[in-house]
């Protein structure tokens, strides 16, 4: 359904998403499942939280055109070219996708 490539950066209490992709059959109008990207992001958030607790952070560096989407949909913050999510927003993300 989807694929994510991550790198753990323990010295910065951070998990960086290198690649995130959703399978073709789950794209467009006729997609079988929704919210795959959100669930993959939540997976990364859980890894970060499990390793780094209240210091946890998940980051990604999207192209500038699509950064807005991640800021609005996932409540990520932009610093330079990097988007990130940390506590408390990580807790909200996990709670939302776990209960969804």
């Amino acid at each position: 359904m989807g694929l994510i490539s991550l790198v753990r950066i323990p010295q910065e209490w951070r998990v960086h998403i290198r690649l995130l992709t959703v399978s073709k059959e789950n794209q467009g109008k006729n997609k079988r499942y929704e919210k795959i990207a959100g669930n993959l992001l939540t997976f990364a958030a859980k890894l970060a939280l499990s390793d780094y607790s209240e210091l946890a952070c998940v980051s990604l560096r999207p192209k500038s055109q699509i950064a807005k989407h991640y800021i609005e949909k996932y409540n990520m913050k932009l610093t330079g070219m990097t988007l990130s999510i940390q506590i408390p927003e990580i807790l909200d993300l996990i709670k939302y996708y776990d209960n969804d």
Binding site: G28, A37, S53, E54, Q65, T79, G80, Q86
Partner: protein
């Protein structure tokens, strides 16, 4: 009114279907990391005590779930380690927790220090306490503490076979062979 041209609309759709998020160079990655750390530290200053407790409790839940999923684990005393984390995250004093679940402070201390095994009543009280604590934080499966306890028991038994098996095996025979 904001005009979204076709190309922008496509970018937004694509954002949900995938993102190549690799940095272009080591230099870019390092300078971004420094900027990000500075911003994060600034945001961390605003974290409340309550938010930190919530993060720690969610971390504990994730760690217990990871532990339960592992078929084999050599880590000793995982139940009591998780119990310590749980109590110390919520309470400044362990005796207060003992009081809240109507268990003597000595009994609790013995369980935490692996001098006594938790009885079924203790596990039930812990289950109910956790349900109440996690209610507004995240989903918490009722059976988690039981699963951790028995997972530890299973792992201990299997990993120490060389010690108990020779003695126990002597008492086991198959009188009716199955062909």
């Amino acid at each position: 009114m904001t005009m979204i041209n076709k190309s922008n609309q496509k970018s937004i759709e694509d954002a949900e279907y995938g993102v190549d998020s690799r940095y272009k160079s080591k230099k870019e990655s390092e300078s971004e990391a420094a900027l990000l750390m500075e911003a994060r530290l600034e945001r961390m200053k605003n974290l409340s005590k309550d938010q930190i407790i919530r993060a720690k409790l969610m971390q504990l839940k994730l760690k217990m779930e990871e532990y339960i999923k592992q078929p084999e684990n050599d880590t000793k005393n995982q139940f009591s380690n998780f119990l310590k984390m749980y109590i110390d995250t919520i309470y400044a004093n362990r005796n207060k927790f003992a009081n809240d679940i109507n268990v003597s402070a000595i009994k609790l201390s013995q369980i935490i220090n692996n001098h006594r095994k938790p009885k079924d009543d203790f596990l039930k009280k812990l289950m109910i306490h956790s349900e109440k604590v996690y209610k507004d934080i995240c989903k918490f499966q009722k059976e988690t503490w039981y699963q951790v306890y028995f997972q530890e028991k299973i792992c201990d038994t299997i990993s120490s076979q060389h010690k108990w098996r020779p003695r126990i095996e002597k008492d086991v025979k198959i009188s009716h062979a199955i062909k």
